[in-house]
Amino acid sequence: MTAYLLKRLAIALITLVLASMVVFAVLEIIPGDPARLMLGLNASADQVELLRNQMGLNAPLALRYLHWAGGLLSLDFGRSYTYSVPVIDLVRERVVVSLPLALIALALSTIIAVPVGLFSAGRHGRAGDTIAMGAAQLGVAVPNFWFALMLIYLFAVWLRLVPSGGFPGWSAGVWPALKSLILPAIALALPQAAILARVTRSALIEVLNEDYIRTARAKGLPFRAVLWRHALRNAMIPVLTILGLQFAFLLAGTIIIENVFYLPGLGRLVFQAITQRDLIVVESVVMLLVAAVIAVNLLVDLSYAVVDPRLRSRQ
């Protein structure tokens, strides 16, 4: 078990270092000068050069990478070019929007997907299964920004139950803040739930064909009990894998959803920073997201061992 854990940790660390190099290099290669972007069309070349010097953009590439990566190690994420405040402050303001949003969406998609998967697997090939999977197919196909707009027109414009967008901040109270996260969370969760439901169903169907299921049925257990107690637990591994991958998709999906609902989240921050060539913000936030995804995958790896005791003893 310890060796398994250590190996996973080592892989995670190497991934982080490689990712930092790729992120830095890619952003250096794409064209665009943050200083020129800030000064606009009327500024002279001398002035742009002056600002580049002030921003420390004229130092050699390797030096800037080491400076940045070294800062990351001591949790110093640098200062934003455009906002001229520490990146960590920007992240702190944004993460309180994006993290709850992603978690609510993840919870919602699980709450929807697992029962639907169980329902479909239990009625494999019958009408209920076909309808549920047809709906799931639709859920995968519908683009989430369009779905988001439909939700806005229904619940914000017509029924006026929730705001059409924006975020009042947690200081405005938990309920108003949660209210503005409901629609974006649904818009994010539904396509994910559709995928997860399909995976749950197929994993269950596969498990239901195993010999021990027949044994369980033969000894007289009702089908429902077999499905929940024996089949679901063994079908958990692919479901957990997808769940882990979905967390990364949710973080990426927030870029679109946060734009449609004009939420001040991490996705918006990255999007804005890319268009403004606020390289240091992009680099640092992307690294944070990479770290989050790696951490979640590590957790998923570890949870395999919890779900499946055989993985523990095999090491």
Partner: protein
Amino acid sequence: MKLWKTILTAAALVLATGASALAARDLVIGITLEPPHLDPTAGAAAAIDEVLYANVFEGLTRIGPNGEVLPDLAESWMISDDGKVYTFKLHTGVKFHDGTDFNADDVKFSLDRARADNSVNAQKGLFAAIDTVEVVDPATVKITLKNPQSSFLYNMGWGDAVIVAPETADTNKEKPVGTGPFRFQNWAKGSSITLIKSDTYWGAPVSLDKAEFRIVPDAAAAVPALLSGDIQAFPFFPDPDSVAQIKDDPRFKVVIGATEGETILSINNKKPPFDKLQVRQAISFALDRKAIIDGASAGLGVPIGSHMSPANKAYVDLTGLYPHNVEKAKELLKEAGLENGFKATLKLPPPPYARLGGEIIASQLRDVGIDLQIVPVEWAQWLDQVFTKKDYDLTIVSHTEPNDIDIYSRKDYYFNYDNPTFDKIIADLSLTSDEAKRMTLLGEAQKILADDAVVGFLYELPKAGVWDAKLEGFWENAPIQANDLTKVKWTE
């Protein structure tokens, strides 16, 4: 079914009454882009002025709703006979929002700061003519110019020339302190910027108690935000295609005005075959402006024939010079030795006017034998490749700076256009203050640009303003990119 409807309606009513409890003197305004920071003297982003100009910060002069120069912190001025010395009489009793007094020292500080060697003011050119700034007494400032400059008073009205206090100049990016009728309250980054009425304002007090600028980056989100009542005004409405839909709704007022944005098909004048006059003229003949305006701006733009807004006094209508004429265009290409046409690239920045307009222009030029490859670019790439390195054939962009016909005389500007006659007119213009002579010179300048077909002149970017029908006092036109809220009020 009936029960459902009753429940839903009841729920909607309860929540709707909660939502309309908004105080009658508060206003939520939608803007598309978030300002990178809040100091108008330290960045070119139009979003900074859209929040702060005339609301929080004031200059010696200011630009009015129709582009006219109005007195602001300077109540009056005298100009010496040689046009080189401006003596400004300042308002007294003016206070900055932090409680400190405004006087002539602040004017000197602000102007000297903007034109200093290490200044990164994005419009440093506005101050280039200034030789010295002297404080005569606390309410009088004397500015001496190196040479007479007819646009000096206008220049001092730009957002980049607002007056700041020495104590707070360095922190204005985060916490702007000005002399205007609103003071800054809060900036929830990524979300909104809130201004509240200043109790110590020297001039006529404003009607609004609170103005919140909410950032709505996605054009598709603007309509539901208005319909749901979350946002009551979009002075620069980002979704022209929805204007028709909102126009029919009596709850809203839609006002189509003019901007100073000349939308043009820029041409790299030094790059063959665009260095040939016939080729550029052929492009002008090939363009069907009406189709472009219909497709790229929902039919709202006004066609232009040179680099001047139709709303400007100096405007000369030159749209008849190159009517849409495919045969004539082909003939000109033949004269240039290109009867078989040629290939070129068209680099398109992100705004819809460029991306949508680009598709239409590419198909119009294909009709005369010019085969365009469309290359979409981001703003950062556009600035780098097109504007700075001049690595392009054709591009579409809207030049939104007011009174900017002089860009065609700038050395090394990305058009690569060089015409000594034109340069001479621009140089004369800057030394001429007689209004009639200026109009003549500006007319000649427009004519030369059109004759030379320097670029393909398309249309003046429209300003579609949408707001609650109970609101009044917004600017109809946008002579500068600002949301002046000083006259805005709720009528009931």
